[in-house]
Amino acid sequence: MAAVIDSGGLKAVRQRVHWTDRIGHAVLILIAAVLFAFLAAPLAAILMQSVENKDGAFVGLDNFIAYMQTAALRQSLWNSVWVSATVTLIAVPAAFLFAYALTRSCMPLKGLFRTITLTPLLAPSLLSAISFIYWFGNQGVLKDAMRAVGIASIYGAPGIIISEIFSVFPHALMILVTALSLADARLYEAADAMGTSAARKFFTITLPGAKYGLISAAMVTFTLVMTDFGIPKVIGGNFNMLATDIFKLVIGQQDFQKGAVVGFILLAPALLTFFVDRFVQRKQTSMLTARAVPYSPKKSRGYDIAMTAYCLLVVAGMLAVLGMAVFASFVKFWPYDLSLSTRHYAFGLLDGEVGTAFITSLKLASATAFFGTVIVFVGAYLIEKTRDLDWLRPIVQLLALLPMAVPGLVLGLGYIFFFNAPANPLNGLYQTLTLLVLCTIVHFYTTGHLTAVTALKALDSEFESVSASLKVPFYKTFWRVTLPICAPALIDIARYFFINAMTTISAVVFLYSPETKVAAIAILNLDEAGEIGAAAAMAVLIAAVSTLATIMFLGLGWLVNRRTQAWRRPAAS
């Protein structure tokens, strides 16, 4: 930027750029171009579609008005809102209590409890819906018990709500555990010294301290439910929600304009969540000073037992859902012949074409993990650690954070509008695995980016200056210093990409062709065809592969740490 010069109107001095730095600039521009083409442009395409008619003429808000005048669609909007709100009101307090037990009690087996509650993350969200169908569906084990409490059928709102609670629980839990572990023991000691009651401590110290975590967890939960596609599809019956509408409108009726309107409506809560979350995180970090003393809970028999009992209940519920899916997947012919067999696996893999879909999923997950990690880390590095191109940096930063605010369905919708347009030179990518990989990378970009930025910020900011003074090009220091130090973060990012690519449905549901169908979508198709046993089997298989992958990544992490993190260990003297 041109600085104001008061010494005789001289022109601002501009430093020459070293040729090695130009390489960095070129790569940064390339990453910006990728984010632009595969994130900004598709979103802009939705905006365009929503204000145009079928012939491409500008019609202002007509599509929105037409949408609001359709009673069925209004009903879907209301359904989405009240279901999401109900799930939030149940899941967040439940997760808060669980997080409270994990962080503020002397409960045994904390690690085990935590691991079990995080397992829903390893399977597509529809796994819980399939499981609940086995528990409460038309031929469910506990159907009569359910009828007895006044619920006529699991298909519809009840099934969606209970399945969503199960699948969003780990997301809310992770946020709340983080919020509750940021406790400053000194506050509690001061309160004790003044003879404060336990209840008063809870309401004056604990709750305000976790306030932002609670807000964040509630918004994230609401958005996840609002934009989830798999669960309402499987267990929703005739109960319409926005996420299922959008699919019917775009794929079924080819009504792109109304689809774009729904996309917009889905984007709103996600965008709101995004900005609230940004704001909240800034508050949360500034609350805890460097001098805070970490809180460690004291033993208290009755309280610890109560907490353990509650957690056992939750974990039992989790295991019942997971266990039923696994059990049902091995049952020969539910509910008439409960003997075990692997016929659903055989059927699903061979006849159901899930075998090839599985290979596609593995290819997608591996490519996403590899290329995603490279793009995310190099991008974060160039933003954080290199100089010049100051106009571009904030733009790339924003594009890197934006995907968190874009639900997968909306992103996928944007991809249809943008890449399916015959005039687009990138049209050839449509329905290819390459586009699925890029879409998945963009969809999960933000979490990887934030992980990379956190790791990079922990490095001394003068490494690059020292390298330049020693005339070592930046890429050598990147390779010899930055990359090895950040290796653990890289593995985390790769694992995150891999698991999510294995389990995601929302974005890719719009983009696959018969050749590029992934396993999670093959499961949806099996379920539609009435092959729920095979669907369960395949969902379990995805969870198994994700678990295996997690273990492999952990092993890889251990090996890499041994090689690259030797310097962190104290000297063997």
């Binding site: 104001v4 001095v13 020459r16 001394d460 003074s469 090009p473 310097w567």
Partner: protein, 363 residues
């Protein structure tokens, strides 16, 4: 002044800064900095935080770009060169050692890039490690060394490629007091042995006074004074310099006749007081008020009473109120003197003001 493009004529000039300005948006961080540094000189940039000293160092390094002005190094215009095309070694306050590389790899980091033969590199690194007093530490990681040792390694890395200029950015401020004093002398003697032109940024006046050939005192983005440590201390050019470097008593007075300064009801004989009628601020170092020797008939002797004694070790900081001066004075008295004279709070004594050391500034 330097002549452009004729390096030979200025062969003793290592660095010439002229008309350097730096703006950060509306903030004017550096204002028209003019400075020359000679070959082999040790120069300290001294000033409070926010005075622009680190910005100036980073501009010399090319890590920041000046808004206006030129920089010449050895006669060559380097104003627009990126850091990698300039010739210097730099040591940061944080050391910035690469934590995953061992000491040997850190020190050889810049050498390896020059494709020197392996044997030469090993020889050079061992030489450097010996030079900084850590000959057997090559295989250790930085995290296994103390702060002072890490700073020595950072120094070795900075001079490994034999740059003609060494830049030190508050290199000692992260160390504990003892280590700081030790490393001060080590850096200074190393610099003198190698004869390398060095610029160090510091906010610690003691550090600057004990290490530098010349001190550049900075405040609010301007150079207040450039001079030898003794000059800076004895002949400060502005009230800011007096205040920032060392302690001083400030006395407000009026020149009543040539050679006579009146402060309160006391009249001091003072040769440099010439502008009759002017109101002045007279700055006086505590050590320029002495308790002995005082003989009968000495001028500028005043009676004083001890208000407070602050024990600082071999000497004490003593606050006295005097008969006639409007404000109390701070003086240094040795512990032995106080004991000999059995002086304590409330005791009275005579003090002589060395008025030739008074620094006068317009009030």
């Amino acid at each position: 002044m330097a002549v452009a493009g004729v390096p030979a004529a200025n062969s003793t000039l290592a660095l010439e800064l002229s008309g350097i300005h730096k703006h950060f948006d509306a903030f004017h961080a550096l204002k028209n900095i003019e400075l020359t540094v000679h070959r082999g000189e040790f120069v300290c940039f001294l000033g409070p935080s926010g005075c622009g000293k680190t910005t100036l160092l980073r501009i010399i390094a090319g890590l920041e770009v000046q808004s206006a002005g030129t920089i010449r190094q050895g006669g060559r215009d380097i104003s627009r060169l990126p850091p990698a095309d300039r010739d210097y070694g730099i040591v940061f306050q944080s050391y910035a050692l690469f934590p995953n590389l061992n000491v040997f790899e850190n020190v050889s980091y810049g050498l390896v890039n020059r494709r020197a033969p392996k044997g030469d590199i090993t020889k050079r690194v061992n030489e450097l490690l010996k030079l900084v007093g850590l000959p057997d530490s090559g295989a250790k990681f930085p995290g296994q060394l103390s702060g002072g040792q890490q700073q020595r390694i950072a120094l070795a890395r900075a001079i490994a490629t034999s740059p003609s200029l060494l830049l030190l950015d508050e290199p000692l401020s992260a160390l504990d007091a003892l280590e700081r004093v030790r490393l001060r002398q080590e850096i200074r003697s190393l610099q003198q042995r190698l004869g390398i032109t060095t610029i160090m940024v510091t906010h610690d006046q003691e550090e600057a006074l004990s290490m530098a050939d010349r001190i550049v005192v900075m405040n609010h983005g301007v150079i207040e004074q450039v001079g030898s440590p003794l000059d800076i201390y004895r002949e400060p050019a502005s009230p800011f310099v007096v205040d920032f470097v060392g302690k001083a008593n400030v006395l407000e007075g009026k020149v009543i006749s040539p050679g006579h300064l009146q402060i309160g009801s006391v009249t001091l004989a003072c040769e440099q007081c010439v502008n009759v009628g002017h109101t002045v601020k007279a700055y006086l170092r505590p050590e320029d008020i002495v308790a002995r020797p005082i003989s009968d008939g000495d001028a500028n002797v005043i009676d004083a009473k001890i208000d407070k004694i602050e024990f600082l070790g071999s000497y004490c900081l003593v606050r006295v109120s005097t008969d006639g001066l409007p404000t109390p004075l701070t003086v240094y008295l040795s512990l032995n003197f106080l004991a000999e004279q059995t002086l304590e709070q409330g005791s009275r004594l005579k003090l002589r003001i060395l008025t030739e050391r008074l620094r006068l500034f317009g009030a």
